[in-house]
């Protein structure tokens, strides 16, 4: 890891600001794109993640701030054009031209003045890699959504870019198509180790692909860190909900014994690990998959055991989402097998338990 920290970033943005009219849509004090790493920009719609991607890809000029390429500030238009020819972008929409699939994949190479033998070689290779070699002579207008997006991605990878920008490339595809293409892209990214900036609102994509995640909301960076940091220690309720933590319960610290806290929640006491002081209000984050259910009070190490009444049962694939009323609302995600063994039904009373170490506590300001 010490080696990584000494590596110079490919792109750095400082004090980046973008406004549409009088509305400030982006305000980024600093962000770095590290070589051979995947940086995921995540956040809800309208959070500014695509705007940030366009700025970094030098396709949108920010109203303030600067962007540095390997330590050098990007100044004139000639430098922008030169750098764009080292980058590649694939958008959510395939944006293909009205010509053959092969010509679409070759277009960027032609614009970059690559010689024709090399264009032929790379086009052939990447059409093959994306499984669309048989479509090379087909008109791009006659493709399915998945084939079109494969063409768009082959066009980007064929450029062998120094930085690859992917703006929600899987978002518009139906589920089976998305899964197969996503799998291919995961393999190709791991193999090529190309520096990538990925915009997505899908937490699973970010978790699978990213080395580092930047979470945006309302044009600002709310949190950045490794996927583990973001997913296990979100900084606020919005991030927690975004990363799939369904249980966010408000409480108040009533005792702190060397980091082990008692949190009062509507008459119950939940135990957790936190540096928050007595009297502070907090949000308690519990992943639904960390909640276990049983019919008898189990004698495990779990201190947080609550009797709750089932308010709803919802099957979700191989899992069952169980909503409970324990004096506070709590959602548990258990396997269908467990649900059958426990003979769960709405109105039934069960014990819900979770470990003090499995919960994440956020101080509410």
């Amino acid at each position: 890891m010490s080696q990584v920290s000494s590596v110079q970033p490919v792109l750095v943005a400082r004090d980046l600001g973008v406004s549409y009219g009088t509305r400030r849509v982006l305000e980024i004090p600093a962000i770095e794109v590290m070589p051979n790493r995947v940086l995921a920009l995540i956040g809800p719609n309208g959070s500014g993640k695509t705007t940030l991607l366009l700025c970094l890809a030098l396709l949108l000029k920010p109203v303030s701030g600067k962007i540095l390429y390997r330590g050098r500030e990007i100044t004139d238009g000639a430098m922008v054009l030169r750098l764009r020819r080292r980058f590649a972008v694939a958008f959510q929409e395939p944006l293909l031209l009205n010509t053959t699939v092969g010509e679409n994949v070759a277009l960027g190479l032609r614009l970059r003045g690559i010689d024709s033998a090399e264009i032929k070689r790379r086009t052939g290779y990447w059409l093959e890699r994306f499984g669309i070699a048989s479509l090379a002579q087909r008109n791009a207008r006659a493709l399915s959504g998945g084939e079109a997006q494969r063409t768009s991605l082959a066009r980007a990878f064929a450029l062998q870019p120094e930085v690859l920008f992917l703006d929600e490339p899987f978002a518009a595809l139906d589920s089976p198509t998305r899964q197969s293409l996503f799998g291919d892209v995961v393999n190709i990214l791991q193999e090529t180790r190309v520096t990538t900036v990925l915009v997505t609102h899908d937490r699973n994509e970010a978790q699978t692909l990213a080395h580092r995640i930047v979470m945006l909301m309302n044009g600002r960076i709310i949190q950045s860190g490794t996927p583990r940091e973001i997913f296990s220690a979100p900084v606020n309720e919005e991030v927690a909900r975004f990363v799939g933590i369904e249980n966010v319960i408000e409480g108040k610290i009533v005792a702190n014994r060397d980091g082990v806290v008692d949190i009062q929640v509507n008459g119950s006491i939940i135990e957790g690990i936190s540096s928050a002081r007595t009297g502070e209000f907090v949000d308690i984050c519990i992943r639904p998959e960390h909640v276990t259910l049983s019919l008898v009070r189990s004698s495990t190490s779990a201190r947080n055991v609550f009797l709750g009444k089932i308010t709803s049962l919802l099957a979700a694939g191989a899992l069952v989402r169980v909503s409970l009323d324990c004096g506070f609302p709590l959602v548990a995600l258990i396997t269908r097998l467990s649900a059958d063994e426990l003979n769960l039904e709405v109105g039934k009373q069960v014990f819900a338990s979770f470990k003090a170490t499995a919960i994440h506590i956020i101080s509410v300001k």
Binding site: L59, R84, L95, L97, L111, A142, L159
Partner: protein, 232 residues
């Protein structure tokens, strides 16, 4: 009834024998309208692209002028050009009035807003992200516009046809700035008006047939292209 049958009979004879006067008039029509269309394209496509892609002060005003120009009556254009080219007018020294050049100028003014307007509409229909995609592939500004126009080739061809169709069938402006001088500035439309007023229906019908066939051919090509683009 005789008048019509007789008219058609004579018209066919004129066409089949290749009457020199008829040929001269058809040739001038094609030359004047063709030149005017080419000029409209040379100015109209860059103008429409600029209005579609760039933002600058006065842009909206120019677009409103173009939209008005697309529906402007040719006879008003004819009047304006006549005033400008009149002996004591601002451009009177050029002595262009009642020459084919004046007709090209008038038809260019009629065709320009059509071509610019069609180009603008075509560019605006394209996904704005397509521009970013093309730039990201490494295109310069000029290359990007060229690729966008190539992408819009079918609707632009429709603009060409519409422009040519409009100027070749226009009569008011050609009449005013050309003067319908036999052998010099007479084109098909002005000839039809002139011959009809003299009661020479056969010649008028002959020109009408040629004009209709031309307009039909233009539409035939357009339809074929639209069908091809739909099949793609």
């Amino acid at each position: 009834m005789d008048l019509i049958i007789d008219g058609f009979k004579q018209a066919f004879l004129l066409l089949i024998h290749g009457d020199p006067r008829v040929i001269q008039v058809v040739w001038l029509s094609l030359a004047v309208s063709g030149s005017a269309t080419v000029l409209s394209l040379c100015i109209g496509i860059p103008l429409g692209s600029l209005l579609g892609l760039a933002r600058f002060p006065g842009r909206r005003f120019i677009i409103s002028l173009i939209n008005t120009g697309m529906g402007a009556p040719p006879v008003v254009v004819g009047l304006a050009v006549t005033i400008f080219l009149w002996r004591n007018g601002p451009l009177g020294v050029l002595h262009l009035l009642y020459t084919p050049s004046a007709m090209v100028l008038a038809q260019f003014i009629i065709g320009l807003p059509l071509v610019a307007g069609f180009t603008l509409a075509t560019i605006q229909q394209q996904d704005p992200k397509l521009r970013l995609q093309i730039l990201s592939l490494g295109a310069s500004r000029f290359q990007m516009v060229w690729i966008l126009l190539k992408e819009a080739r079918l609707p632009l061809l429709a603009a060409v046809m519409a422009g040519f169709g409009a100027v070749i069938s226009e009569v008011g402006a050609s009449m005013m700035v050309g003067g319908n001088i036999t052998g010099q500035t007479q084109v098909m439309t002005t000839a039809i008006v002139g011959e009809t007023s003299k009661g020479e229906f056969a010649v008028a019908i002959a020109f009408s047939i040629i004009l209709m066939v031309l307009v039909y051919l233009v539409n035939l090509i357009l339809t074929a292209l639209q069908q091809r683009s739909r099949e793609n």
